[in-house]
Amino acid sequence: MNRRDFNKAAAAVAAATALSPLNRAFAQAQKLKVGVLLPRSGFQGLIGQSCQKGADLAPGVIKQMLGVDIELMSADTETNVDTARTRAERLIQEGANVLVGPFDSGAALAIAQVAEQRGVPFVVNIAAAPQLTEQGYKYVFRNFPTAIDLTVNGLALIGDLFRATNVAPRTAVFMHVNDTFGQAMQKGIGATLPRLTQLPFKIVDTIAYDPAAKDLTVEVSKAKAANADFLLLVCRLNDAIILRREMVKQRWFPMGVVSPGSPGMYEEQFSKALGPIANYCISNAPWYNPKTNMTKVVKAAFDKANPREKFVFHGTNVVYTYESILIAADAFKRAKSTDPKALTEAIRQTNITDRTVLGGPLKFNAKGQVEGNLSACTQNLNGEPRVVLPESAAEAKPVFPVPDYKKA
């Protein structure tokens, strides 16, 4: 070998060595590690598992659509705020590039602190407490209406419900879970309702209750004693089941049970546990748009993965969880990097128009909040939640007052 050949060989080796970190980085950046935090046990376990179905189908759907590889790292928050915080820390230590979850507002606030401290982007799938995106966090994003948005949308739909059924109830008794979410909704309703002068009713009593309570006899007795026309309810799943049973036991049959924006009454377990007495309960909740292409794709993937489940019972949980991972994947594709700052900036620039969720395009405002996600008015009819309003998306006509209504 002469000097020229040696120099050529050395240059080739040097070039290969210099390029290999880039190769490694590019290889490393081929896959996005998404830490999924959800309450898969504890009293929110059923809803958390429902959300998990949305997470589980996301990698396959996103790979087809965007060509992006996602690795899910799932953790159970056990419906416990401290556990949520600990699990978030652990996921980050184990290499999660982005966190999504956790369904619950209290847990979301705890995880947000961790994400902010560690500089890892966190996309909230479902949590309504307004303070999540009001604290100036740089790494926290939310694709779900705030309690104020839920309240405004939900109350507006109640007005639409009364107009559609030609009924004008004068009074309501308001019951709500006494946790971060329930209190946020209570404040939102308290602030919003007086401004909505087109709504014909006033709240005659407000009763807070423990979402983990096993017995709601006292609460329902107090609510019944208010002699209100209908029950305005902000609930979760297990408490909604206990409460509805107690209403029947205490022979309290108001015009209807209407939720302005909370989980529980549209869930499958609610209808399964209660049978016919679950019918006619109304939930004004963020919902999926059944007519978009994306919804059809997600529904098909859900049906294939869960042949014994009905999409209608999991729709909201699934689509919001799916979209939170889609946001991360879309940002990763544009950023071409798992660097937290690059990923975070890319998430901030998100603009997705083909969505599953009812509402406008998926774009974050300066606070990291998506604006324009809408609610639908759904009513349990023949054991399944059906969209009854807005009319453009309606699958059935609303029933109000309910058939077993007895004036107090």
Partner: protein, 289 residues
């Protein structure tokens, strides 16, 4: 506040309290004789609830009828648990007993999670949502039946301890351990019998609770704590005290929820506990040591 509301809530509180009392009775029986604090008490009740759910699912067996085989099964399990596992720990330091029973409780919770999953389960019997109406007073049928069953079980237990030879022997062990040994009583066997009886009580309580509560594996610890509060309020080792404590706790929760705030009603049973510990540490019907 309407009087009928107060009366309805009071009745519901008393009825629920009677079932609580039966649950705590088992704990009091075990501690009063064996001197072991059963930190797996709530978990045992949860297993009994699952047993009632399973028998209903398989044979459409009403929980009232299911209480008989479930109680019998729990009697045997309680006997074996005491004889096989707990007996060596009776003379060991209390913290060893505590750790043992906490470990047993954790194993039970996780066993239930594996066997049944985290979903809430219940029974759907014909009269579950029915109530009797007497003017403006509503009597919840499942609660009334459960309270009557609790009363009957408690009465049977009292009569057993009062009138039967075995019951008297068990009381002798509780009163004077050394004396019982001296007169030739088989103390180990009697301890195991007592644990079996306590387990049978909690099994009946569990079969009654499923009539108005959904069961999940994580239900146990809160009821273990509740059982302790009831027993401490009523008096550790006092059977009547356990029943009285149960009714007091059921009633205080109901009335606190009604007059103060429903979301804070469980706070009041802890408040009652503190008051009893401050002013009558032996409990309302307990004996001073």
């Amino acid at each position: 506040m309407p009087l009928d509301l107060v009366v309805n809530v009071t009745i519901a509180g008393v009825l629920t309290g009677m079932v609580y009392g039966l649950m705590a009775l088992g704990l009091s029986v075990i501690f009063g004789v064996v001197r072991v604090v059963n930190f797996a008490h709530g978990e045992m009740m949860t297993i009994a609830m699952y047993a009632a759910v399973s028998l209903f699912a398989a044979f459409q067996l009403d929980p009232f009828l299911a209480a008989i085989p479930v109680a019998a099964g729990f009697f045997v399990l309680g006997y074996l648990l005491q004889a096989g596992l707990i007996n060596p720990f009776i003379t060991r330091p209390e913290h060893s007993q505590f750790m043992l029973m906490v470990a047993v409780a954790i194993i039970m919770v996780n066993g239930m999670l594996i066997a049944f999953g985290p979903d809430a389960r219940n029974v759907q019997i014909a009269y579950q949502l029915e109530s009797w109406e007497i003017g403006k007073i509503l009597l919840d049928k499942p609660r009334v039946y459960a309270a009557l069953m609790a009363a009957a079980t408690s009465a049977a237990l009292f009569l057993f301890f009062k009138l039967s030879l075995t019951g008297k022997a068990i009381r002798a062990c509780a009163d004077n351990h050394l004396g019982a040994l001296v007169v030739g009583l088989n103390v180990k066997h009697l301890y195991a019998l007592t644990f079996g009886l306590g387990a049978a009580c909690v099994a009946v309580a569990g079969c009654m609770m499923i009539l108005f509560l959904d069961v999940t594996p994580s239900l146990g610890p809160s009821y273990t704590l509740l059982a302790f509060i009831i027993v401490i309020v009523g008096g550790l080792g006092s059977l009547t005290g356990a029943l009285l404590g149960g009714v007091l706790i059921g009633l205080s929760e109901a009335l606190a929820g009604l007059f103060i705030q429903p979301s804070a009603k469980s706070m009041f049973c802890y408040g009652l506990l503190i008051l009893v510990l401050l002013f009558r540490p032996q409990g309302l019907l307990g004996k001073k040591s």
